[in-house]
């Protein structure tokens, strides 16, 4: 045994054989430093344990630091910038689209093009109207569409004249157009030959974006309003939304 300090641990833990143990104890008697080292062995062991522990903790600290440095994607500046740009562009596009849709929607078409059919019985009031037909027309003029609708339906169902039935169908077509029930409106317009139906049908096709039917309609019956609708349907804005 050359370096007794190297064997302090083995001595303390009883791991030396008999001869080595004896040699060690003889050396301890001679060397006070060795004796002190044996006395302080437990503290040295604990200090070494602490060195091990801190070495391990340093690795954990590195892992913690690396986790802390990982910035979630949604917090990265470039990601935020791109996301914000896309959001603005999408918002602008859909906002613009919504604006255009309002230009070519029912309310705008109604405001720009629709005309109520003229009631020939203007001097009569509902109370003194003598026939269902007259009352239905006045109720329509008063914008009491539900009441006029039921009376017009009655006219179509009973033994009214063909002229009254044609007018009833025309008015029902108008009522359903105003209620934005376009399919029903077109069905009732099919039941009448009254030419006043064409402009409302054109407005329906225009709102629906059906340029083919609009063009075909123009070939059958043309008016300034229908030609204007066709012209407007050729604009890029109209085609963007329709």
């Amino acid at each position: 045994m050359t370096d007794f300090f190297e064997h302090i641990d083995a001595y303390v833990n009883g791991q030396l054989n008999k001869d080595d143990r004896q040699n060690f104890e003889e050396e301890m008697a001679r060397d006070t430093d060795l004796k002190k080292a044996v006395d302080n062995h437990s503290m040295v062991s604990e200090a070494l344990e602490l060195l091990i522990e801190e070495d391990i903790r340093s690795i954990v600290d590195q892992v913690q630091e690396s986790q802390a440095k990982v910035i979630p994607l949604y917090k990265k500046r470039w990601f935020i910038f791109i996301a914000a740009t896309f959001t603005i562009l999408f918002g602008a596009y859909f906002g613009f689209r919504a604006y255009l849709e309002s230009l070519y929607g029912h309310d705008q078409v109604y405001a720009d093009y629709y005309e109520f059919p003229k009631n020939p019985y203007t001097t009569r009031s509902v109370e003194i109207s003598s026939t269902t037909f007259e009352r239905s027309m006045y109720l329509f003029d008063l914008r009491r569409f539900e009441e006029s609708e039921s009376l017009f339906q009655e006219i179509l169902a009973n033994n009214s004249s063909n002229d009254e039935k044609e007018i009833a169908a025309l008015y029902l077509g108008n009522i359903y157009f105003l209620q934005q029930k376009y399919q029903q409106s077109l069905e009732y317009f099919e039941m009448t030959n009254d030419k006043r139906k064409y402009e409302v049908m054109a407005q329906i096709f225009y709102i629906q974006g059906d340029k083919e039917k609009l063009t075909n309609l123009n070939n059958v019956h043309t008016t300034d309003e229908i030609r204007l609708l066709i012209k407007n349907s050729n604009s890029w804005r109209y085609n963007l939304v329709k």
Binding site: A37, L50, L51, I52, E53, I56, I59
Partner: protein, 188 residues
């Protein structure tokens, strides 16, 4: 290779085990969740999760160490013991622990050094230079002289052995020359 063998195999393998354990969300949630359910604060539970990993790695260096249950259960038990015994908390923080003994895991040994004793030991270790600290750390982890020589870029095993010897003697001398610290460390 089982996890204990990997820790003992090399420092690199040990460090990888530490990273893997720390980043394992299942184990993490199990340990922290158990402590929180028992009344521990979440912040303390996270600290004790870290402590349980440190304790496990230290235990791996004991030659007769083995895990009888799953690693997760072992870490949960370790964290529980650390919390209940207040091992890593300073007594000066004013926390007293009257833990029911039955709640601890008797089979799990805690190898961590208490805060008070760490402070005292630091007073000694801070007087060692970084090279000595590193050499002694490697030697304490049971690294062979050849390995120490390679890691410390010494020319030979002999140089490593000589340096270790010098550093160890230095440490002994520091302890012996600091009677007050020695006296306080002598207290249980």
């Amino acid at each position: 290779m089982d996890i204990i063998s990997r820790v003992r195999k090399s420092i690199e393998d040990r460090n990888e085990v530490i990273r893997t354990l720390y980043q394992d969300q299942v184990i993490r949630n199990a340990v922290i969740g158990t402590l929180v359910k028992m009344g521990c604060s979440e912040a303390d539970a996270k600290d004790h999760f870290t402590d349980s990993i440190v304790n496990f790695i230290k235990a791996c260096y004991k030659p007769d160490f083995e895990i009888r249950s799953s690693l997760t259960n072992y870490l949960i038990g370790t964290a529980k013991n650390i919390w209940l015994k207040g091992v890593t908390k300073s007594k000066r923080e004013g926390t007293t622990f009257n833990y029911p003994t039955a709640m601890t895991e008797p089979s799990i040994e805690i190898h961590l050094i208490s805060s008070e004793r760490k402070q005292l030991l630091h007073l000694l270790l801070n007087q060692l230079d970084q090279t000595c600290r590193k050499v002694l750390t490697l030697w304490a982890i049971n690294k062979k002289m050849k390995d120490i020589a390679t890691r410390m870029s010494y020319k030979s095993e002999g140089m490593a052995r000589k340096k270790k010897h010098q550093c160890l003697r230095r440490l002994y001398a520091l302890i012996d020359s600091n009677q007050q610290i020695k006296s306080e460390l002598s207290e249980p």
